[in-house]
Assembly symmetry: D2
Homo-oligomer: 311 residues x 4
Amino acid sequence: MAYPKSLLQLNGIVPPMVTPLADYDSLDITGLEKLIEHIIAGGVNGLFILGTTGEAAALGYQLRRELIERTCQQVNSRIPVLVGITDTSYTESVRLAEHAAQKGAQALVIAPPYYYTASQDELLGYFEQLAKELPLPLFLYNMPGCTKMKIERETVRQAANIPGIIGLKDSSADMMYLQKLRQMMANRPDFPLFIGPEELLAEFILMGGNGGISAGANLFPELYVNLYNAAKAGDAAATRELQKKVIQISNNIYGATQHGSSCIKGLKYALCISGICSDQLAKPFHQLSQSEQKIIEHFLAEMPVVVAKRS
Amino acid sequence: MAYPKSLLQLNGIVPPMVTPLADYDSLDITGLEKLIEHIIAGGVNGLFILGTTGEAAALGYQLRRELIERTCQQVNSRIPVLVGITDTSYTESVRLAEHAAQKGAQALVIAPPYYYTASQDELLGYFEQLAKELPLPLFLYNMPGCTKMKIERETVRQAANIPGIIGLKDSSADMMYLQKLRQMMANRPDFPLFIGPEELLAEFILMGGNGGISAGANLFPELYVNLYNAAKAGDAAATRELQKKVIQISNNIYGATQHGSSCIKGLKYALCISGICSDQLAKPFHQLSQSEQKIIEHFLAEMPVVVAKRS
Amino acid sequence: MAYPKSLLQLNGIVPPMVTPLADYDSLDITGLEKLIEHIIAGGVNGLFILGTTGEAAALGYQLRRELIERTCQQVNSRIPVLVGITDTSYTESVRLAEHAAQKGAQALVIAPPYYYTASQDELLGYFEQLAKELPLPLFLYNMPGCTKMKIERETVRQAANIPGIIGLKDSSADMMYLQKLRQMMANRPDFPLFIGPEELLAEFILMGGNGGISAGANLFPELYVNLYNAAKAGDAAATRELQKKVIQISNNIYGATQHGSSCIKGLKYALCISGICSDQLAKPFHQLSQSEQKIIEHFLAEMPVVVAKRS
Amino acid sequence: MAYPKSLLQLNGIVPPMVTPLADYDSLDITGLEKLIEHIIAGGVNGLFILGTTGEAAALGYQLRRELIERTCQQVNSRIPVLVGITDTSYTESVRLAEHAAQKGAQALVIAPPYYYTASQDELLGYFEQLAKELPLPLFLYNMPGCTKMKIERETVRQAANIPGIIGLKDSSADMMYLQKLRQMMANRPDFPLFIGPEELLAEFILMGGNGGISAGANLFPELYVNLYNAAKAGDAAATRELQKKVIQISNNIYGATQHGSSCIKGLKYALCISGICSDQLAKPFHQLSQSEQKIIEHFLAEMPVVVAKRS
């Protein structure tokens, strides 16, 4: 398989897109289009749909398929579209991947199957079989907080030698793991490492990381692109300034409520009051309370970053 | 909804059936039929398919649907069939439940959606919505080791007041939780509590619990039925004797290998060499090594319990 | 070393005594005497001081020494006194043990050193060295919630062959561990197993366990002695009745507040309003709030168990 | 209390000194002197004794006192000496602090009491009482891996307003926590934040952190000082180069063995074969196996950093 060069050199900011919903089982189609345009206008390097931030696991398969099709159509090859196919069932992962390829996506992203835990050997075998069978190149996704299973460094090292596996996103928030992995993979510049938690993006790029799958880039794509560029250029002072805003976003938007879903809820509400898309959540999530909403409203009113409103 | 009386008084041993596979994505149909007959012949009170032991999460949806249909046909109403509909997607849980009702299952079983974590309020709301929409009565399933989310006692207490929610299976292996729950629900004899881990079945029944969803009852159904009866009758000495065998099974069959899948792997291999069904596993699991197989072979040869072979 | 027969057959209820304090660094001497008499009057089989419930780790060494001396004097050989010597420093454990022997204690109790974690090999070596050097027989104490380190079953099995190591207290609340351990040690009736968490005492004794180190026996010693006797006699129905009260105590006295210290705080407050000893806590613990106190007051007023008041 | 200006502006590298032992309960006095000189010669900004790396919790009190006295004497005010007084007993912490003040130490370091867990309120009250009673200024020490209790950010913020509490060392390895804390304390340049895990030192200083309590600086003090200086100057490229060596040290010296003690064991063995001090460990730790020793020997032979040998 020959991959497009743009994909093999993927780096920078690739937002994990939230899934705009009209109802728990149907898309907010206008919101989806606006959101994609808003993100692309921010200068990002790719778009990752059906990840954790995209509530993928909570969506019905029909909806996931529709989202893939509409997103690929709207993006229209301006930037690479990466599609999450994480599933507890191998069969369903492969089926979704085939759909993604047909609709024009550029790459796939997979975290370990996450109901049972497996051995690292089993995990490596799983990646190997997938890579053989999948119609598109594959990024691994380390997300132990949701999957209970870490992709150990040695497993990454071996998986990186499998044709078709082309990079990794790490959302462990464990910088000890990630810095050691980065150094272990230093001789593999063709295997980019992306970081999930945006609070750690600045230091990861300063230390040589390749990019960020930053949730906040749904809302403020330019901020994350600027931060990436400053850090990439080794400008520690400018990076620290931009990082302050990222932490404020984390404290005020994701910190408005609790539980694993807090980032999604905060982001969707912020996007909603910014006129971009609906704040509807997939089940079983409940919307923010009024007092939690106020925290976000107040923050956005004060936030010294212009939020493009395209209503 | 009026439920059959037999279901509302469900107690005793309800084996969580393994799913006999010919290949990772197709059923071992002959094995399935033999296994069902083997289990029913042991005198159990019900059959639970598509649970953790059934590898449900790892199976494709088409296969799950076929399993439901074939199982209901084979059981042919001799005992109640309970169908696991645990899913990260509400939509897919409901769809599978509708299929189960059409094919003749008696009840459904659901654990919390398990990729994200949610608040207990969200979980209670989720159960409430499901109960309204589902065509069959529902057992809750507490399985924090796989779902990362506990169904807290207070949530169980409230959920037990929702029409259509008729009992709970607890696989936390946390007897502090379960004993306190049992006492909290003492005034609800119509809401049975079942225990998953069979190593704790004896003491749970001695203390007043209602039954066991015991994986080992795939292999030795009579043993678990006898243990249940002894404990139910308050015969502590006989219970302790039978419990010894249960612990031996756990040590030798489930303990032959490690990881979360060890019980499934051990059971399937033991069923295979007992001539009942295939030991094929769903992906990403690997089969036992030869040395692990030897442990089980040796144990079964020594085990002073007759394993019915019906080939 | 020849141990007194009474000690080698130790079983039944051995309360882990709270340490009555006048101030965070001085004993409530009158309270100590009353408490000891109250406990002994309840028919218990031994007394364990300087355990977790005794706040041992939080006490200064001078106070620990004084407590040992006064307790041995007051008990005056009516029942065996077991002294906790758990410490992160081997040297300090040995020094305290020597003091305990001089003052007349009958046995020692030790949990793993708990700041660092060590390998099971290191732990076994540690027990071996201690047993050689200590002047009194030693019980092991598995308390992973506080020590972060489990004493694995295989380590217990090997340690049980070391002369001078004569039993184990398990406070893991992990019945899977304890039931498997009980069965593994079935051929060692001379090596008694005690359970810490009293909520699980009933089932542990019904299943063949040797005794309980039950914190609630500070307050209601007869209740735990009666429960032990009923369960030992295999009377499941009577055991369940008594167990109800134990769970009520747990819910209302230990559950009045939260955190690891809730049992100690609840017990000390209940002992205080029962006229037995002061409710002063060691640092850094704060006393119960008024609303938490009310829960306990209300419960004790309603509790259908007579609390002996000996003021 | 007026603190010396040098102390209030403490930053840079402050090695957590290993404790050279002749035997588990006696000091390697010659090794101690050599080690102190080796470290000071490396240009560090302070010396922290009786921390985690110093095996403090495992040492007898008499030995701790002797170590304080000898270290203060040898350092002779060339750099500030910080003394760990972490203890489960408030009384013993205060006693050790008084000894440290008498012998000439400049500051104290304390982690939460670590057998029980306490509430954050109790923890804050504990720090407040200590600060009033202690004769020297106090650094807080967040080390949840050993203490099971996190000092939450809000607790740090409040504690930083207590006179006598002058900074914090964080060894959580949780950069999300630490970066958010750093930003929360941005208006408190007088309250320095130090990082424990040296694998994360580079990024912490690049992002604005104040210093590192880096265990590897026992062995290669200049390396950590150089890394600190490069990162402080915002030179990302030079920082990354030096960071490579730090990761190699971590992989080869601390990674030679496992368990919580691996860093101490690796360091002591490396110091021993570098001719600096004994590799004797406190109980219950066992020395490295020969194959583990070989990994370290091989690494040191290859390591392109000159290890000063001052025998």
